[in-house]
Every structure is written in C-alpha cells, then in structure tokens.
Subunit: 189 residues, 2 copies
C-alpha cells in the first residue's frame, strides 16, 4: 500500500477513537512509522486537510459496508439489526467503536471548520439515504421514509455514545430491540 493510503487509514481510526483534537500529528506519525516531512508531502495543508481526506475515505468505506448489509437482508428491520449486531461484535472484540461513527469529530469541529462540517454532513446523509431507500422498498412514502431514516441515524449514533460511556455493548443491544418500533407511520401534528 502507498504511504498516503496508509496515513489515511491509520489516521481515520485514531480520529474516530479520540477525536480530532485528541490525536496529535506525532501519534499518527508514530503509528504509521513515517516522518513529519513525509506527511506534509502528502498533505501540504496539514492536519485539517488530512481529516477531510479521512472523512471522504470513511464515506466510501461506510457506504460500501452498509449497502452490502442492506442488500443482503429483505427488510429494513432485519438489515438494521444485522448492522447493529456487527457494531456490537466489533465493540466486544476490539473494545473500541470505530464503526459508523465520528461523533467526536462532529462535536469538536462542526462550529470551527466548514469543510469538516460539510464532510460530516455528507456522511450522515449517505447513511440516511441508504436507510431511506430501503424503507421506500418496504412500502413507506418517501417523506415518511426520510424522517424515519434520520431518526435511525440519530439513535444508532447515540447508541454508540452510550456504549462508550458505559463501556459495554448493552445499549446497542437494547436499541436493536426497541428500534423496530419506529418503523411505522406517524402522525404529523
């Protein structure tokens, strides 16, 4: 693998785990076994440029992964539960959450950097669109599907936060059971 891809891959994991501010360049360099000069050759504008590249890479990886899961299951309910199960297994084996989340990056950077906020927004939209399409296939109206999909994104992202906080996978397990409840029409008031 070329150096640039290596940097992106490793930095992505670190940013997801510790947030943008929480990871120093030196930590990335050490994990990649490269020098400052090399990193700045590939990312002349430094850390923030690297972060945006990581978010774009994450976009592709996550999209591919989620789309696969959603193609392999007949309904949104089953696909969602399979997806959450995958998150749980990863958390229980690796001890960290590096799945479909980047909450720390959002909360740190959304108000500080427009490019970063935009990249994060794209990522959430992509997930929402995959869910939404499946919901339409399930028979929901596009508007309802859109709303339910957004809520799914929020609940799963929040669930990962709760797992981190409790240092246990129980929250996602519970959410996997409760979440199907939202897969219904709702009243607009």
């Amino acid at each position: 693998m070329d150096t640039k891809s290596l940097i992106i891959e490793i930095a992505t994991k670190l940013f997801q785990q510790k947030g943008y501010m929480g990871v120093g360049l030196s930590e990335i360099l050490k994990a990649c076994n490269i020098s400052k000069g090399s990193l700045y050759h590939h990312f002349p504008n430094g850390k923030e440029e690297l972060l945006v590249a990581c978010l774009q890479s994450l976009n592709e990886v996550i999209t591919l992964d989620i789309e696969n899961i959603f193609d392999q299951h007949p309904t949104t309910k089953e696909a969602t539960q399979a997806m959450i199960e995958k998150l749980i297994v990863h958390f229980e084996t690796e001890g960290t959450i590096v799945g479909y989340t980047f909450s720390s990056i959002v909360s740190e950077m959304a108000s500080l950097s427009e490019p970063v906020r935009n990249a994060c927004s794209l990522l959430y939209s992509k997930m929402q669109r995959i869910y939404s399409n499946k919901l339409v296939a399930d028979g929901f109206s596009t508007e309802t599907a859109h709303s339910i999909a957004l809520t799914m994104v929020a609940t799963i992202e929040g669930g990962m936060l709760l797992c981190l906080t409790q240092n246990a996978s129980d929250p996602l397990k519970t959410i996997s059971l409760v979440l199907p409840n939202i897969l219904q029409e709702f009243k607009k008031e």
Copy 2:
C-alpha cells in the same frame, strides 16, 4: 457569585461546545477574566479536575431542568416533545447546542479517563431514570420502560449531533415527530 462557581459555569459551556481537548485553559481564563494562579488555587489538579466538577454541576442542572419539564406534562410523549422543543428554541436563538449533551466529552475522554467516563455515565443514567419513571407512570413495565428510556436518550443525543452537523434544527424537529413511535411495547427476540 464566587470565582469557583464562575469557572465551573463558563468552563461547562465551553467544554460542551468544543470538547475537552478543544478548550485550552487560557481560553477559560480569558472568558472568566481571571489568572492561572486563581484557577489552580480552586482546582489544584488542573484541567481534568475542573472537567469532572463541570460534569457534576451539569448533572444537577440538567436533572432539575428535565424533572421540571417532566413534572409539568401528563405523559412521556408530551414531556419529551416539550423538552425537545426547548432544545430547538435554544439552538435557534443561541446557535449552539449546550443543552443536555456532552457527546464530545464522552467520545474524547471515555477511553482515556475513568473518572470522566464515570461522571458521564452518571449523567446519562440520570436522564434515563427520569424518562423511565415517567414511562412506568404511563403504564409500562419497569423493564420495558428502562429500554425505551435508554433509546430515548440515544436518539435525542444523536439528534443534537445531527443538528450540529447540518447547522439546522430540522433533525430535532423530525425526531420529535417520530420518537413517539417508540413509546410502545416491543417484542423480545
């Protein structure tokens, strides 16, 4: 107000907005108009001790606030929607989310500091308990109430993240409409 309380109040807002790593001591000092010596007099163990104090303070404030809202509304559904409405109004007037969230702190610190992780865990538990009690009053079994309440915490926290990301209050508005769907019994599989 005494200096210690002032520091806690201002630091809490900053930590919520920018995360733990994202806020330097100097920024806190400037916002409080005090000196380093003063801060270290009140928090001899430095920044992390201050953060834990902020989380404890946040615990009291949030608990009081949410309990008030939940006492003023007959059912969980109405109370929840009133609570979310309050978050939306705050976001639209202040432009920031400093409500019942501390997601950036969780994601940055959960794996780095046990005291911080614990303080965050307590806070989420407290919210969950308030929701849960109201759900029991609504007629749910304690076990179901517990699960639904956890999902509510996750969804609302995730909803605030989405608002930050989109820089709009729409996500919370949508969630306010969809969330009542989870207020039902669900199958345990």
